[in-house]
Assembly symmetry: C2
Homo-oligomer: 341 residues x 2
């Protein structure tokens, strides 16, 4: 067993007081250049590094943040988590993660635990945060930021992308490649992502005479839901030639359902997703999608939280990031323009 040295050991070896060492470590207050050398040497010799737990207790700062998300095994969130951790590590923060499965109880349990652990701040990528909880956090003085939330409450800063605008882009793209009857599989309406994308779709298509509300079909943001929704759509409207899915997973489901019916994706029916997860490159044909800057969102939200923690930032804001159309083979139709891949 190795013996770990403490600040007292350093102080003793350097022949100064504990306070002086502490002042040196934190660059707070005066330390003579000469003394500094002594302390540095002692630290070197003892291979000392400060105990973070003791620091946490004394200073109520643990250099740890938490990331609460619905499910880390969901592609979107694992990408996000990667970004969050990258940025956090850069700033010297450690990341704790928790899966909420979109259940308020689980989320609350995490908050409870995190509070006891003096976590410095929380990122909610989960959307079950209730008003009471957010107020509680505010009262406790725990900084937090949210992903994909509406501006409904005064709940911290929010990072999201231009969902409605993206939906408009998707529809326009489908029209551009020649679609004349476009259906939409929309996501859960308690999620801003589900709602805004639906809004964008409706706004874009309602001017056309072919539009009818039966071209709308609900999905659950998952593959199976996308498949089922597609089946129902084809039942009602065998003549649709374009599907805009509320997210990529449902688009994958649509792809599978179409293929199962022997419908050629791209030629007969064009499919466009939303999110830009890695999986879209894996399907055959590759999936056209409105890509959110997932990594950037994670990096941004993470930086935001850290700024809040360190007091650099005070007012809460909503940040809307740009989305980007990535046209691929799932929307490759007759009138092929000789542009991007």
């Amino acid at each position: 067993m190795i013996v770990i040295s403490t600040i007292r050991d350093v102080a003793k070896l350097a022949g100064v007081s504990v306070s002086t060492v502490s002042r040196f470590l934190n660059k707070s207050g005066y330390v003579n250049a000469e003394t500094e050398r002594l302390i540095k040497d002692a630290i070197e010799k003892l291979n000392y590094s400060p105990n973070e737990v003791a620091r946490g207790l004394a200073g109520k700062k643990t250099n740890t943040i938490a990331l609460i998300l619905p499910d880390i095994s969901n592609l979107f969130f694992s990408d996000l988590a990667r970004a969050v951790e990258d940025v956090a590590a850069t700033y010297g923060y450690t990341v704790i993660f928790g899966n909420s499965d979109d259940q308020g109880t689980k989320e609350r349990r995490y908050i409870e635990t995190l509070k006891k652990k003096y976590i410095d701040g929380i990122i909610f990528a989960s959307n079950t945060l209730s008003r009471e909880d957010s107020e509680m956090l505010a009262k406790l003085g725990i900084p937090f930021v949210c992903l994909d939330r509406g501006p409904s409450e005064k709940n911290g800063s929010v990072v999201r992308s231009k969902n409605k605008e993206g939906a408009v882009m998707a529809v326009r793209h489908l029209l551009d490649v020649g679609c004349r009857k476009i259906a939409h599989i929309y996501g859960p309406q308690d999620l801003i992502t589900g709602k805004e994308r639906l809004n964008g779709y409706v706004q874009s298509v309602q001017v056309f005479e072919w539009y009818t509300p039966t071209l709308l079909e609900p999905g659950d943001f998952r593959i199976a839901g996308g498949m089922a929704a597609t089946e129902r759509l084809l039942e009602r409207h065998p003549d649709i030639d374009g599907i805009f899915a509320g997210n990529d997973l449902m688009a994958v489901g649509a792809l599978k359902a179409l293929q199962r019916r022997g419908i050629a994706v791209g030629c007969q029916v064009a499919v466009c997703g939303f999110d830009g997860i890695q999986t879209t490159e894996i399907t055959t044909p590759e999936l056209t999608t409105i890509a959110q800057p997932i990594y950037e969102m994670g990096a941004h939200i993470s930086r935001l939280l850290i700024k809040k923690i360190e007091g650099v930032l005070e007012e809460d804001r909503i940040y809307e990031l740009d989305v980007k159309l990535i046209a691929r083979d799932s929307t490759l139709r007759r009138k092929v323009p000789n542009e991007q891949g």
Copy 2:
């Protein structure tokens, strides 16, 4: 700002000493039934719950474990992470994660940080842990367990699956569906998964006259690597009718390369992967794979670590979990037996 109460507040309100409250909280030592009631009431009234940081400092136990993996955005590891967190939460542990990108330096940096934070134990799903590091951890008395490591060193317990056996299963399956010239795209040979799967393949095929070492091609366990390897294989052996890829991502790459050449996957060339990640259900055709029980591995390794932490477990062992063939359309050939899907 809410005022948080301490154990002293509870003691005062209950009219007992701090020690008694502590004894009650930890169920250590005697506490009279009457006193217990008083304490319980006080705790209730003050909405008290013990400060984990102070506990950590006093007891050197933080109820926090760390999960070091190459990249959380990699499907395999995000599945694993989900399992680890689920189990950890059940046992009252919180999970910190870190991306090592398989770089020893990053890994070492995490260890350094975790040590200072009195983390209770570490799971290494990353394979860059050096002998010195593992010895250091042992000296520091920090329990740890590893995923997918060889028994080379005396480094904690190891959880992995039957890689060689799985490779043998893969080859047998390819032969069963009628393949007569099977190539193998192997993974990095510094990983036990890469090595053992290659072993299994070679052992299974070397008895056949068609076998030649040029049917082996290295890959990097990623999609692009799988594509490139497939290209090279087809160059050398245009007549191969089966490909066993060392993991699913490379199998996806093979799929893409074959499709790009207009080769019908399943009919002309059968493809089998290894791992059983979700993505295998998304490709067209769906990918046959040797599935590792990923969730189970994560759950198991996590339970193992917790047992080590709590002293229930002492000797280190290697646990080898069973793999399972999941036959899908990517290996659907002429002689179709009317069995499973």
